[in-house]
């Protein structure tokens, strides 16, 4: 689980840096990523990278963004839906 979490954080930080924003401070497991200031375009890129990593598409008609966009939410999704 620790490795999965580290990978998720790495993906988020990679896209965050590419967007040219100031470095993210430590992300709490339940911090809402949008509320941290990640914009929609960057978030789409984060999701695309996660999809490439797990090898399947995340369908947001089935996944509630309210639950998904935290480290814990992504971790639960990745662990349950597409074990990597």
């Amino acid at each position: 689980m620790t490795d999965l979490r580290a990978k998720i954080v790495a993906i988020i930080e990679e896209h965050w840096k590419r967007a040219g924003d100031a470095p993210l401070l430590a992300i709490g497991d339940d911090d809402n990523l949008f509320e941290l200031g990640i914009d929609s375009m960057t978030m789409v890129q984060v999701v695309t990278s996660i999809e490439e990593w797990i090898g399947s598409t995340i369908d947001f008609l089935d996944v509630d963004p309210e639950q998904f966009f935290t480290i814990r939410g992504i971790l639960e999704y990745v662990s349950k839906e597409s074990p990597v």
């Binding site: 809402n32 949008f34 509320e35 963004p65």
Partner: protein, 385 residues
């Protein structure tokens, strides 16, 4: 907030303020529409503000068209145009009402409960004349967990996700990226469209929303609450669920706030419209008539949506002075009122309008070009990506 309204703007504001049961007198209408009114500008403003059919209806109701007393007030060519604008809108809305019946039946057959919102419900409850209000689409609130089935039910009726092309002959699908972005960031499902091939209604758009406020905006309002308080409405031969009066007002205020603040809506020219202001004014009148103001206030405060509601009501009071009870405005007045002049906050592109006059901002046709920053929502269809 001072503003110098053009004569045409003042006339339109006066005309849309009229109750259907108490039309303006012919004398008053003559005073509003007499020389030196610029009829071209008058019609242009009414169209841009989406109120031409309402203006036409109210001019006709005042008795200045088609009678002996009417001579000279409205130019004959414009009389025809006004009558046709109202009649064409009525025919279009008839088509939408018929389509509502088809959709409502399909949803019921599939066990999906949707709440009717905005246009068709307001036209029935508030305008009481289905030719008076412009409607661009049929809007529903749907539970997110039933969203996929609602989309499938619409697809079975021939709807597709996308937008009509400029000729109304085909549907340009949304890109997978665009669909994903919408589902991730706003409480809307991708809009669906069906081509009709009828001159006055080339296509029907269906808007499915799962909540009234932007996702992650920090407001505590659960969609399920709207369902628990819903009521029945009869439209033509259809009876279906809709939001109760206080929730309708919250919905309209939320929608006004969201669009006024959005780069996308500003670029699309639908951020501030007189039509939305008239809707809210009428919805508030209904809440006041039914003594539901305390209920409305309690819900606003429970959901912690005082700021967006204050924003909207302040706008409405500027457009229709005295229309909002002063205690509602003072009750939720924030310490820092600057946010009434900002936009793009939720898109991480905050900007400030240079003007401070809300009514002038409403009527400013160059508002979009004065804005700084760009919406992230453009380029969402296959054609533009």
């Amino acid at each position: 907030m001072s503003h110098n309204l053009k004569r045409e703007e003042s006339a339109i504001l006066e005309l849309v303020s009229q109750d259907q049961c108490r039309p303006l007198s012919a004398e008053k209408t003559k005073e509003l529409l007499g020389p030196p009114l610029d009829w071209g500008l008058f019609l242009d403003i009414a169209c841009r503000q989406y109120v031409l059919p309402l203006v036409a209806r109210n001019i006709m109701a005042s008795g200045v068209i088609g009678g002996v007393g009417a001579l000279g007030i409205v130019p004959p060519s414009h009389e025809i145009l006004l009558e046709h604008a109202y009649a064409a809108n009525r025919r279009r809305n008839d088509t939408l009402r018929a389509e509502l019946e088809v959709i409502a039946t399909a949803m019921e057959r599939n066990g999906i409960t949707v709440l009717l919102r905005k246009g068709l419900a307001l036209t029935t409850d508030l305008y009481r004349d289905h030719g008076a209000r412009v409607m661009s689409d049929i809007d529903f609130l749907v539970r997110r967990r039933e969203g996929r089935r609602a989309i499938q039910a619409l697809e079975e009726l021939g709807y597709a996700t996308g937008v009509p092309d400029e000729h109304g002959r085909s549907v340009v699908p949304w890109s997978p990226q665009g669909t994903k972005m919408m589902l991730m960031t706003v409480p809307n499902l991708p809009p669906m469209v069906r081509l009709m091939g009828i001159p006055e209604c080339t296509s029907v758009n269906v808007g499915l929303t799962t909540g009234f406020f932007e996702r992650n905006a920090g407001y505590l309002i659960d969609t399920e609450e709207f369902y628990s308080r819903s009521r029945r409405i009869v439209i033509g031969s259809v009876e279906m669920a809709t939001t109760d009066d206080a929730d309708t007002l919250i919905d309209l205020c939320a929608h006004f706030f969201k669009d006024a603040k959005s780069h996308f809506a500003i670029e699309y020219g639908k951020d501030l419209t007189l039509l939305k202001a008239v809707d809210i004014r009428l919805a508030l009148q209904r809440v006041l008539q039914h003594c539901e103001v305390s209920e409305f206030s309690e819900r606003v405060e429970k959901a912690k949506v005082e700021a967006p509601i204050w924003f909207t009501l302040t706008f409405i009071d500027a457009i229709f002075p005295g229309s909002i009870p002063s205690d509602l405005l003072t009750r939720w007045e924030p310490g820092d009122k600057m946010f009434i002049h900002t936009y793009g906050d939720n898109e991480r592109q905050p900007a400030i309008w240079e003007d401070t006059d809300l009514v002038s901002r409403l009527f400013d046709r160059n508002r979009s070009s004065r804005k700084t920053g760009k919406s992230q929502f453009w380029g969402l269809t296959e054609r533009t990506t």
